[in-house]
Structure formats: structure tokens, C-alpha cells
């Protein structure tokens, strides 16, 4: 048997697979032992070499099994996708080794060593994550400082909202538009009234007490619903033939795009009341909502304008030649197509908006991340920052992921062949 070490070929396929496979296996066993059992099976070698042994074994093994057109389907697939050159083999090994090395400690922290039982920080003894913190504070993370006895109002408001949204997906087409109109124009007022109270025998709860995840939803939802039409109008305004409208739109967009959100929020809280006549008072939350809405509307305007510009001139001309005026042309022909084109951009802006909501802490409103911030400074729960932020991060990720999936579905659904 003529085994040339440097050049693998098809003739001795099985020998190469056997030797290469064994080498790779040794590499994997080495890394698995060192990451799961903390034993270094190559400890007899000098330090640095022993550290690199899994990589060296793996690389050489992969080199040996790199045989083109071997006829073995699995081997060919591995070779073309993960092992096409020495560099690719190295990348493949590094990725796999990194996963083996870092996944177990993460899992340990998250699940196996984590503490779930108990009610105080002292119950967290095993060294992993202290989920007790989240458990104890969960109510605050969701409802903020809203009084416990009144929380059913928030629950009712959101439950109704979800039921209505759900219903709008399942009812027949001709009722759908009524539900959507109700959702957009009537429900926000009912929902806000229910949560803020003050009438109908409901106890008044000032907005300073609102907070947590429910506030995240309230701020996001209002800003989303409002910034979209304002942005669209601004986009149309920027393309208007009338100089007054065009320059106003440009000025507005560039002004709001040019300032950081945090300064806008700060101004809405501190400077805005100074311009109001004495004795008038606009609620903090309302001011913040207006600030975020206008800020995001400026971004939305540019996204929508991108879509408007992507439409061929012929669409405008066809609409005009059929006798449509400006508004009919835009609402029936131009916007439906332009908005469909920029769904990814709209989703982008919406996601950014949701993730911008924590900034309202500058005016003293504490949504989810703000409540986590507050909880971790509680003397009884010092040192829980990691758990808190990981939790907040996960919740934000879930919200954003759902939105992102929905936008992708919408894109597919609305797609008509061009």
C-alpha cells in the first residue's frame, strides 16, 4: 500500500478517511474533555502546543480527507461546504471549537447553575444566574409603579387590544376595515382613559406611576401609529411643487433628524413647559409621546420618500391621464406601491423606535429597561444588573423579532409580480 502523506487521492480513499477521521476525532475529544471535564489530555506536552493540539489534529485530519469527487456523498458535501481549502478548514474548526467551549458555561449560567426558588437575594447560592430577582420584581417590570389593586385595568386594556387585533385577522374582509378603524381611532382613547382613570369611578393614576413593559407598549404603539401618517405627509410635502410646503417639510425633517433623541426628550421635558402660558400643563407622557412621534416621523418621511422615488414616472402619468387629482393619485396608485416597496425600511424604523423607548428615563419615566435599572439599585438586590439586563434584552428581542417576522410575512403577502 503506497500511502503518500502529502497527497490524498481517490485510490486509497478508505485509508485516508480512517486516518483523517481518527485525527479529527482526537481533536474533538481533546476539546470536549477540556471544556466539559476541565482535564487536559495532552498536558504532557508543552503549554502552548498542548493548547493548540485540537486545532492541529483537526486541521491535519481535514487535510487528509479533502478528496475531490470521492463518490461518497456525505464526504463530498463536507468537503465542498466546510473543507474546501486549508483556510476554510481552519474557520470551520474554530467555529465548532468556540461553540463547544463557550456554550456549556453559558448554559450553566442560564439554566443548570441558576437559582429559581426563593424570595430573597440570599436564596441565590449556586453561582449561576439569580432568576429569583426577576421573579420577585416581575410585577414591577411589567406594571411599573402602577398600584397593585388597579392593575386589572392595564390587563383589561391590553387583553382587549390583543383580542381586537386577533379578531381583525380572522373576521371576514368586509368587517375588517371597521375593526381597523376602531383600533386606530377609537380604541387608543378608550385604552388610555381606562389606564389613566379619573372618570367612571376609576381611581386616577398619574402617568409618573406608569411604567415597565406596559409603558414600553403604550409608548411604542402610540408613536408607531402616529409617526407613520405624519412621516408619509412629510414625504409627500418634500416632493411638493409648492415651495412653501416643500421647504417647511425639508426644514422639519432635517431639524429632527439632526438632533439626538435624548436631547429632544430632554427639551420636551424641561424647555417645552417654559413656552406654555402660566397655568397650562401638558402631561409629561404626552409631551414625550409627541417628541418621539415627531422624531421618528422625520425618519419615516425619508424612508417613504425613497419608495416614492423608486416608482416609475409612468405611474404618475397614467393616474393623471385617467383624471385623478393629487390626493386620489397618491392614495390609490402611488402610496400603495411605494409603501409596499419600503416595508423593510418601515420595519427598520419601527424596530429602532421600540428600542429607543428606554431613553424616556431622562424625563423620569421608567419603562422595562428603566425599571430594571431601578431594581438593581435596590439595596436588597445589589449586583443583579446582569440578570436584569439579560431579561430586558430578551424581552426586547422577542418583541422585535415578532415585528420583524410580521413585516416579512406582509411583504410576501402583498407581493404582486411586476
Amino acid at each position: 500500500m503506497n500511502l503518500s502523506i502529502l497527497k490524498s487521492d481517490k485510490k486509497n480513499l478508505n485509508s485516508f478517511i480512517a486516518i483523517g477521521g481518527t485525527l479529527i476525532l482526537i481533536g474533538f475529544i481533546d476539546i470536549i474533555f477540556s471544556s466539559f471535564f476541565s482535564t487536559n489530555i495532552t498536558a504532557f506536552l508543552p503549554d502552548k502546543i498542548s493548547y493548540l493540539t485540537p486545532l492541529l489534529f483537526g486541521l491535519f485530519g481535514l487535510y487528509l480527507i479533502r478528496i475531490e469527487f470521492s463518490g461518497n456523498k456525505l464526504l463530498d458535501k463536507v468537503n465542498t461546504n466546510f473543507n474546501s481549502s486549508n483556510f476554510n478548514a481552519l474557520l470551520t474548526l474554530l467555529v465548532i471549537f468556540a461553540l463547544i467551549k463557550y456554550i456549556p458555561p453559558l448554559l450553566n449560567w442560564f439554566v443548570f447553575d441558576a437559582n429559581f426558588a426563593g424570595n430573597t437575594k440570599e436564596d441565590c447560592t449556586s453561582g449561576g444566574a439569580c432568576w429569583v430577582f426577576i421573579k420577585v420584581w416581575l410585577n414591577r417590570f411589567v406594571y411599573g409603579l402602577y398600584p397593585d389593586t388597579e392593575q386589572w385595568r392595564i390587563n383589561t386594556a391590553f387583553l382587549t387590544l390583543f383580542l381586537l387585533v386577533g379578531a381583525s385577522f380572522f373576521v371576514p374582509q368586509r368587517y375588517k376595515k371597521y375593526i381597523i378603524i376602531f383600533l386606530l381611532f377609537v380604541y387608543p382613547i378608550i385604552g388610555l382613559k381606562l389606564i389613566s382613570g379619573g372618570d367612571f369611578g376609576l381611581k386616577y393614576v398619574e402617568t409618573g406611576a406608569w411604567g415597565g413593559l406596559s409603558l414600553t407598549f403604550i409608548v411604542s404603539a402610540f408613536a408607531l401609529i402616529l409617526c407613520f401618517p405624519i412621516g408619509t405627509i412629510l414625504a409627500l410635502g418634500r416632493r411638493s411643487k409648492l415651495p412653501a410646503i416643500r421647504y417647511t417639510s425639508i426644514g422639519f425633517i432635517e431639524l429632527w433628524r439632526g438632533v439626538p433623541l435624548i436631547t429632544v426628550l430632554f427639551m420636551s421635558a424641561v424647555m417645552f413647559p417654559m413656552f406654555l402660558p402660566d397655568g397650562t400643563y401638558v402631561d409629561k407622557l404626552i409631551r414625550v409621546l409627541i417628541a418621539i412621534t415627531l422624531f421618528e416621523a422625520a425618519y419615516m418621511a425619508e424612508v417613504v420618500r425613497g419608495g416614492l422615488q423608486a416608482l416609475p414616472k409612468g405611474q404618475y402619468e397614467a393616474a393623471k391621464s385617467l383624471g385623478m387629482g393629487y390626493w386620489r393619485m397618491h392614495f390609490l396608485i402611488i402610496l400603495p406601491q411605494a409603501l409596499k416597496l419600503v416595508i423593510p425600511g418601515i420595519a427598520n424604523t419601527f424596530l429602532a423606535l421600540v428600542k429607543d423607548t428606554p431613553l424616556i428615563f431622562v424625563v423620569g419615566l421608567l419603562e422595562l429597561a428603566g425599571m430594571v435599572n431601578l431594581a438593581k439599585t435596590n439595596p436588597k438586590w445589589l449586583g443583579m444588573a446582569m440578570e436584569g439586563y439579560v431579561f430586558a434584552g430578551l424581552v426586547f428581542w422577542v418583541i422585535c423579532y415578532v415585528m420583524s417576522r410580521y413585516s416579512q410575512n406582509l411583504e410576501k403577502k402583498l407581493k404582486t409580480e411586476r
Binding site: G314, A319, K320, L322, G325, L332, T416, E417
Partner: protein, 243 residues
């Protein structure tokens, strides 16, 4: 026969380039006019001025008794009476063929949806495309799309139809189906102004021919005379090149 379109000394500039020079033209009801000429001669600009997709800077354009200028208030009403078929079809890709046809009658003419659909089906049948009504423009061939565009314009029941090189973007084998639909329309008595290079169509349908070059109307004549005995040398040269 009464005049329905009248252009008096119309001039148009794109910045410094003069696209139309002293155009005078009268179109009678039920008259069919074919405009030909080399590219860049202002043919398209001329008919696009008639429904003010382009603005003229000087002279008068009178359509159905109303002058078109920047002061025209009911420009939309005039446009609704002037149908147009474009070189690139310009169907609305987000709507089905049927919706393409019913949209303007419903929203501009305030026609009840049922009537609009009946009218649309009638016109789609007229251009022999009724079986494609539920499809979207992107699913049709070029010839079918152009016939749908014709049906869409007809649904507004226009008094005048403008055609801006309707067959230039089509494969040769699809040109005939579109021209056939246009011939039918001409026979039904529609007033038509057609910019085209299809001289066979012109000979069959046109009452008058117009030859344009460099923004001017070089020659206007009865169709037979135009082809058999053109007066200007420029026309002779052009005809010798395309016939």
C-alpha cells in the same frame, strides 16, 4: 363636423431646448390623425401637451371648448375626457386588470362599483382579453398588457384617445393584436391622435397624416396624398427610409 381640439401657435421649451415650434393644429370630431417623424422631433411632446402631461409655455391649446393652461381649474375633468395609451403600458402593477379598469370610473366618475365592473368587462371583451380580468399586469404578455391599458382608458368613456407609440415596446408578433384593437376603435368612430411608426396602420385608418421634424409640423396632408405625393423633401426622405 366640429372642432374638438385646437392648437394655436403652441411653443414649448425644455430649459433652453425648444421642443415645439409654432404648432397649429385642428382636430375634428371622429377624425383620425397619425403623427410620424424621426425620434426627438416632438411628436410625443405634442400629444402629451394635449392632456397637459407636459406644460406648454406659449400659445393656446383648446380641448372640447376649454383652454388648457396653468389656470385651468378642472384640468382633471378634461383629462377624464381624454384617454391616453402609453408606450410602456403603465398599468398599475398592484391591482388586477379588472381593478385597473374600474378604479378611475369608481373614484373619478363616482360610478357605482357594479356598473363600473360591467363597463370594464364590456371594454375588456372589446379588446378580447376578458378572460384575463382577474390576473395582475405582471402575469400578462406585452400585447395583452397594452390591450388592457387601452380598455382601462376606454372605461372612462373618453371623447378623444391619444396613443403615444403604443406598439414600440412590443415584440413584433404582438403588434398586430394591439393594432387590430385600435382599428376596431377607429371604426367605431373615436377621435384619435396616434403617434406611431406603423405605416400600414396609418394607411388603413388615418384621415390625415402629420409629419414632424425638429419641433415643427413639416407637412400635414390627407393620408393618400401624404404617401403618394409628399410635398417636402424631408418627408420624402423619411418615407423612403421607413417604407
Amino acid at each position: 363636423m366640429s372642432k374638438i381640439i385646437e392648437l394655436k401657435n403652441v411653443n414649448k421649451w425644455f430649459d433652453k431646448f425648444q421642443a415645439l415650434k409654432d404648432i397649429n393644429l385642428e382636430v375634428n370630431q371622429q377624425e383620425k390623425i397619425v403623427i410620424c417623424g424621426p425620434s426627438g422631433s416632438g411628436k410625443s411632446t405634442l400629444i402629451r401637451c394635449i392632456n397637459r402631461l407636459e406644460e406648454h409655455q406659449d400659445g393656446q391649446i383648446i380641448v372640447d371648448g376649454k383652454e388648457i393652461s396653468e389656470n385651468t381649474k378642472d384640468l382633471e375633468k378634461i383629462r377624464a375626457e381624454v384617454g391616453m395609451v402609453f408606450q410602456q403600458f403603465n398599468l398599475f402593477p398592484h391591482l388586477s386588470i379588472l381593478d385597473n379598469c374600474t378604479l378611475a370610473p369608481i373614484w373619478v366618475k363616482k360610478m357605482p362599483k357594479k356598473d363600473a365592473e360591467a363597463l370594464a368587462m364590456k371594454n375588456l371583451e372589446r379588446v378580447q382579453i376578458a378572460d384575463q380580468a382577474k390576473k395582475f399586469p405582471g402575469q400578462l404578455s406585452g400585447g395583452q398588457q397594452q390591450r388592457s391599458a387601452l380598455a382601462r382608458a376606454l372605461c372612462m368613456e373618453p371623447k378623444i384617445m391619444l396613443f403615444d407609440e403604443p406598439t414600440s415596446a412590443l415584440d413584433p408578433e404582438m403588434i398586430k393584436e394591439v393594432l387590430d384593437a385600435m382599428v376596431d376603435l377607429a371604426k367605431a368612430g373615436m377621435t384619435m391622435i396616434v403617434v406611431t411608426h406603423e405605416m400600414g396602420f396609418a394607411k388603413e385608418v388615418a384621415d390625415n397624416m402629420i409629419f414632424m421634424d425638429e419641433g415643427k409640423i413639416v407637412e400635414k396632408a390627407k393620408t393618400k396624398e401624404f404617401f403618394e405625393n409628399p410635398k417636402s423633401d424631408r418627408t420624402k426622405l423619411f418615407l423612403s427610409q421607413i417604407l
